[in-house]
């Protein structure tokens, strides 16, 4: 199987490019971290890649709305390249700030290329929230979530509160485009309840994808649970496994997402 090439976007305060690149490499991809200005200058081109990742971070300090300024920059200079990329059988993932950038770019929900139809508003607590959550896969079509049921990983954002007009929400549901929803520890939907739903997102939405299922924008950080030893409760699980004589995983639950991305090209 040939290794897909992953373009990991960087610059202007994006700050998760290294770990995002690391998990894709670990999943079997070749990756390149590229500053957005190097794409604008033509030093690199999106056409050389099969997967594009918008990592997490604080592009432009979240000023004027999280992801807005970076999305403007992409829109002003790289719009044709992005358009060509998403038209092909290629994958895009945006995590946290990357999710916010993609919402502002109108890559999701993707009914009309470039049209903003969802927003990530301030968390209901009006505060930055860094905490571990469980999210459940609720889309059949999303390429990135195959084989996952519930995934535990952290959220870390000030503006993760998914919002859209009711008709857009209805379309997302009908189109099987809600990739993840926040759930309680027992697996039932969080129902907006804090801290299981950490930001007040409508219908507990944690991630959505475009109608094709190839383009996913996810607020929580699967790349921050890449090793079993990242997970907040690993010392308890490890002790339990030892007493029960069960083998321990080495991999973190988040890895599956990136493996799905890579194996799409397998």
């Amino acid at each position: 199987m040939s290794k897909p090439k992953v373009l990991v976007m960087a610059g202007y305060g994006i700050n998760c490019e290294e770990e995002t690149s690391y998990v894709f490499e670990k999943a079997g991809a070749d990756t390149e971290i590229i500053h957005v200005n190097d794409l604008i200058d033509g030093r690199s081109s999106m056409k050389d890649f099969q997967i594009m990742a918008f990592p997490g971070g604080f592009s432009y300090g979240d000023d004027t709305g999280s992801g807005n300024a970076y999305a403007n920059k992409v829109r002003n200079h790289l719009w044709e390249q992005v358009h060509d990329f998403v038209q092909q059988d290629k994958l895009v993932i945006g995590i946290c700030n990357g999710c916010q950038i993609m919402a502002n770019l109108g890559l999701v929900p993707g009914y009309e290329f470039g049209k903003r139809e969802v927003a990530l508003m301030h968390n209901k607590t009006a505060r930055y929230e860094c905490r571990w959550i469980d999210m459940k896969v609720t889309s059949e079509k999303c390429v990135w979530t195959k084989g996952i049921d519930v995934l535990r990983c952290p959220v870390s954002h000030g503006e993760g509160n998914f919002y859209a007009e009711p008709d857009v929400i209805a379309k997302l549901n009908e189109g099987d485009q809600v990739a993840f929803r926040y759930v309680k520890p027992d697996g039932s939907l969080a129902g907006g309840e804090f801290p299981h739903n950490p930001n007040g997102a409508v219908e507990d939405m944690a991630a959505i994808c475009d109608p094709s299922g190839r383009i996913m924008a996810v607020m929580p950080h699967p790349e921050r649970n890449w090793t079993f030893y990242n997970q907040d409760n690993w010392t308890l699980i490890k002790e339990k496994a030892e007493r029960e004589g069960v083998a321990l995983p080495e991999e973190g639950q988040g890895m599956k997402i990136f493996q799905n991305g890579v194996s799409y090209f397998g």
Binding site: F58, H122, Y229
Partner: protein, 987 residues
């Protein structure tokens, strides 16, 4: 003309809802019905209608927002409009981003003084008086850096909205260089030192913090040169010679210690430890650079540094603390050839946030200080924005409360860095500017913000403290610069040397780097300014943030500048390094500074200080032990210094960079841990363990033992989570007070002696440190009485260890019913200055003392037990003693425990259950184990004071019996949990 774009929310706005809740906490809060928030962008650049519409669209999210251009955003119903914007010259980060958006959108550049300025209007509906509306404004803004405009609905309607205001700096000033006449009376000379150089209008420029010895040395030097100094030279000397930069007190001869306490106690300890370790020495670079560096593995080194930013945080808590955290990040970027920041730490020493009695800097209730609560909220928020925006995880920190932090809070910030050992074939920690290299400054432009920061913090705070010392950090500007340097320019070998611009600005950074090659020549007119009108001395010493100074070979300058431009980072060549032996500065064709480097750096007179130390005897509490200690324990759990501060842990990103192994919160019950484990090299299972310890109240009894306990605790915390003793480094941060008093210096000397004794006893070297010597406040209380508030002598010990295999980390939460609970280490009658005695209103005298030899054996045994995988949980016993530690373990595991004190290892005569429970004796850890491992575990502790004191229950019940088997505590983990989280509920 100026244009104004107002952006409002079409959907319920969380920010407005939260603001409403905050407003409701005012005395008149119930009258407030609703709040609406509008963001305002104002620009003094002219745009066409069409351009303006494009701009407005780029600043608005159409899904949730709408805008109004050059007219007011329509608000359905309100009674008052309160607009908060920045004062001229104050960093406006959102404005900065908006400007970049516009420049990119219209492919244009703002020229000269053209800019974008932001403000925010809060529309309030409610039956309020205008004064009450003004109070709401004051609760949202800090007048020192922000402007507030309040309009009633009537006025608003009459005026057609708010006012269009462009807060541009207009200095109306022709820059000039002054000659300062030093041939004046001693009295006049002293005035220059205390209040600063006199302006033409008779006002003074602010403290130089130069005392008579220093001033006379300067006077004599210039007599020898046959001229007077320029103001640039004098200001430059004041920065370089400041206590803040030269650590003159730690360097001074102190009584019989000729070489000074830094060399005698701190540095000597490290030297001796390194020698004793021989080829096991893991130090790479200590005390020489902006951080200390130790070996991580054969490929990497880690660096560590902790700083304080106290004085600015008292005046503008948010600005002070954000500037502090992004500043200490630069100590990482400025280490060696630049390390990458990978872990942030914080620590806030604060007064009780419930204390509402006002303090004033000026007489007659003038210059009101911010309340402890405002200071607390502000400093927490500053590290939040600074750390989160920079993408650096913050897994470790603490809150420490004492009423004496009311005048000046202490804001500790620390950063761990990561760097390859080898860069292009040379050791990464070595750097050297070469003659002929260009002086290049990268980052932000220079304004009046941050003038006299170094000298200001070298004095007590009083009514003369300058507001220009306050700055606001811009983490994104720094992040862009940091990435461009650490992730690109460094590895391309584009510079020979690098250091950060901190205290004293470029006057310190360039002159410091000039030492490496032997001289520098600076063309000050090439330093970019935020606005015209700055005097050269201001440009030279301004501490405007987010700047690094580099020495770049001439043939690499273009490549460097080109790289910076492509990364959106501003950089300027401002001079050249040489070997002239001088620091020369020119401006407007004149030489305005011409000083020998030897005088600038080493010309300051050596000081001799004498000390005294009188130990006081304090009253001992005289009450009986309560028959039931349940309520006592619950009260202890809610104490400011023992309560959960998970509200901070949850707002500081501690998982970015994907390296977190054990974060700030342990167990299902999310209890604040005392140490964290991080894995900054993603493909290695080696970990970096970080911890901190502070116990300033012990200084009320004895500073030697205070220091000993801080070191013991900082080491024990590392051991408790699985870190090794043999690869463990320390840092000292002294925050003292009134360091011109012999008694305070006597306390200092003893604390430093403690640092020597215990770091050498444990073989744990100091690798970096910092001191801040005048944490005093002089002002007035609410009745107009003069007051001086000095912080208790405070020493923060930060510890860092490199752990072979992070998969062996142990958290503090108990995990399984039936597990056995053990204590190792002896409990003595050591309740002096304990949390328990303070709860009772006493200090007492029996301060905990450290027996390092004994403790070392215990720590080695615990280390072995963890390496062998025998521990299910482990916790270091700290403030609040065994009682609080046990309760924390139960809360963290959400399981109950049955505990008996009967077998508890005790030293001396201690029988009272309250004393046994709340003594703060050092060297103790609580562990829980799988009963199946009992024998193997106990075998490791032969001849050590180990005892099984209880078992973990299946339910939530938490019981404790005394030496006679009587039940003295009978409660459950939920109640303990509730009290643990009570104090900062709603924060």
């Amino acid at each position: 003309m100026a244009h104004r774009i107002e952006v409002g929310s079409l959907v319920p706005d969380t920010r407005a809802q939260v603001r409403l809740l905050n407003f409701r906490q005012q005395a008149f809060g119930e009258h407030i019905k609703s709040v609406f928030v509008v963001d305002v962008y104002t620009t003094n650049r002219d745009f066409s209608e069409e351009e303006l519409e494009k701009i407005a669209n780029s600043l608005t999210n159409p899904v949730t927002q709408a805008y109004a251009m050059n007219k007011s955003y329509e608000i359905a119903d309100f009674d008052y409009a309160i607009e908060v914007g920045f004062q001229p010259g104050v960093t406006d980060n959102v404005g900065h981003t908006a400007r970049e958006i516009v420049e990119d959108l219209l492919d244009t550049k703002f020229e000269g003084e053209e800019d974008v300025f932001t403000s925010q209007i809060t529309y309030v509906k409610g039956d309020l008086t205008e004064d009450q509306a003004k109070e709401l404004g004051a609760s949202m803004a800090n007048g020192l850096i922000q402007r507030i405009l309040v309009k009633s609905k009537e006025k608003y309607d009459a005026d057609g909205g708010m006012d269009v205001k462009v807060p541009k700096v207009d200095l109306h000033h022709e820059p000039q260089v002054k000659e300062v006449n030093l041939e004046i009376s001693d009295e006049e000379l002293q005035k220059i030192g205390k209040q600063g150089i006199e302006n033409d209008d008779g006002t003074r420029r602010g403290p130089l913090a130069l005392d008579m010895d220093y001033l006379r040395t300067i006077q004599e030097h210039f007599r020898g040169l046959g001229r007077n100094p320029t103001d640039v030279e004098l200001e430059s000397l004041a920065q370089t010679w400041s206590e803040h930069c030269k650590h003159t007190i730690f360097a001074a001869t102190m009584d019989d210690i000729k070489e000074g306490i830094y060399k005698h106690y701190i540095k000597r300890a490290t030297n001796e430890i390194r020698t004793a370790k021989g080829d096991k020495d893991f130090c790479v670079s200590v005390f020489e650079d902006n951080s200390g560096g130790v070996v991580f593995d054969e490929k990497w080194i880690v660096t560590d540094k902790a700083e304080t930013h106290n004085s600015p945080s008292a005046l503008d808590p948010f600005g002070g603390s954000i500037t502090g955290i992004v500043g200490v990040n630069r100590d990482t970027i400025g280490f060696g050839k630049a390390a990458k920041p990978v872990i942030n730490r914080y620590g806030f020493c604060l007064a009780n946030p419930a204390d509402e009695r006002p303090l004033y800097k000026g007489a007659n209730n003038t210059q009101k200080m911010l309340s402890p609560r405002r200071i607390m909220d502000g400093v927490i928020d500053g590290v939040n924005v600074g750390g989160n925006c920079s993408g650096i995880p913050t897994p470790q920190g603490f809150l420490y409360f004492d009423d004496r932090y009311k005048g000046k809070p202490l804001v500790f910030v620390g950063t761990v860095g990561l760097m390859p050992r080898d860069l292009n074939g040379t050791p990464s920690w070595e750097k050297c500017a070469k003659p002929g290299d260009k002086v290049v400054v990268a980052g932000g432009k220079v304004g009046q913000d941050g003038i006299h920061g170094a000298t200001f913090s070298s004095e007590a705070m009083d009514s003369g403290s300058p507001s220009t010392a306050v700055q606001i950090g811009d983490p994104i500007t720094q992040k862009k610069m940091s990435d461009a340097i650490v992730k690109e320019a460094r590895d391309l070998g584009l510079y020979n040397s690098i250091t950060d611009c901190g205290a004293g600005g470029i006057s310190c950074s360039i002159a410091e780097m000039a030492k490496e090659c032997g001289g520098c020549y600076v063309e000050l007119d090439k330093v970019p300014l935020k606005y015209p009108g700055l005097d050269p001395w201001q440009t030279w010493i301004s501490e405007s943030q987010e700047r690094m100074t580099m020495s770049i070979p001439p043939d690499k300058v273009d490549e460097f500048l080109n790289l910076m431009e492509r990364r959106g980072v501003d950089a300027w060549v401002v001079g050249e390094f040489n070997d002239s032996g001088k620091c020369e500065v020119v401006s407007g064709g004149d030489k305005i500074m011409d000083l020998e480097l030897s005088f600038l750096h080493d010309g300051l007179p050596h000081k001799t200080l004498t000390t005294t130390y009188t130990k006081e005897t304090h009253d001992e509490p005289d009450m009986e032990c309560p028959a039931d200690l349940t309520d006592t324990l619950q009260t202890m759990m809610a104490r400011l210094n023992l309560a959960s501060f998970d509200f901070i842990s949850h707002q500081y990103d501690h998982v970015v960079q994907g390296e977190t192994i054990v974060g700030p919160l342990h167990g299902k019950g999310r209890v604040n841990g005392h140490a964290s484990v991080m894995a900054p090299v993603l493909n290695s299972t080696k970990g970096v363990v970080v911890s901190q310890a502070i116990n300033a109240k012990y200084s009320d009894i004895d500073t030697y033992h205070m220091a000993a306990c801080a070191i013991d605790s900082a080491i024990r915390n590392i051991v408790s989570i699985g870190g090794p003793l043999d690869h463990l480094a320390l840092m000292d941060n002294f925050c003292w007070c009134s360091s011109n008093e012999e008694e305070r210096l006597g306390q200092l000397k003893e604390a430093a002696r403690g640092c020597y004794d215990y770091s050498t006893a444990y073989g744990t070297p100091f690798i970096s440190g910092k001191d801040s010597m005048f944490n005093d406040f002089k002002g007035y209380d609410e009745d107009g009485n003069p007051v001086k508030i000095s912080v208790p002598p405070t020493l923060l010990i930060s510890s860092l260890a490199v752990m072979e295999d992070y998969r062996k980390s142990v958290t503090l939460d108990v995990k399984f019913p039936g597990d056995l609970v053990y204590v190792v280490g002896e409990t003595s009658d050591e309740l002096g200055a304990s949390e328990y005695f303070e709860q009772l209103g006493f200090i007492g005298n029996n301060i905990p003392k450290v027996d390092a030899e004994k403790n070392m054996k215990i720590y080695r045994a615990v280390e072995k037990a963890i390496q062998a995988g025998l521990l299910t949980s482990c916790e270091s016993v700290l403030l609040g003693g065994l009682g609080v530690a046990l309760a924390r373990k139960a809360v963290a595991g959400q399981l109950g425990m049955d505990i008996s004190l009967e077998n508890l290892p005790v030293k001396g005569e201690v029988t009272r259950p309250d004393h046994l429970l709340f003594s703060e004796s050092q060297g103790r850890l609580i562990m829980s184990i799988n009963p199946a491992k009992k024998d193997e575990f106990e075998a490791l502790f032969t001849d050590l004071p180990l005892a099984q004191i209880g078992t973990v229950r299946e339910d939530e019940k938490f019981t404790l019996t005394d030496l006679e088997g009587q039940t003295v505590i009978d409660t459950d983990t939920s109640t303990l949990d509730k009290n643990y989280r009570l104090t900062f509920k709603g924060f």
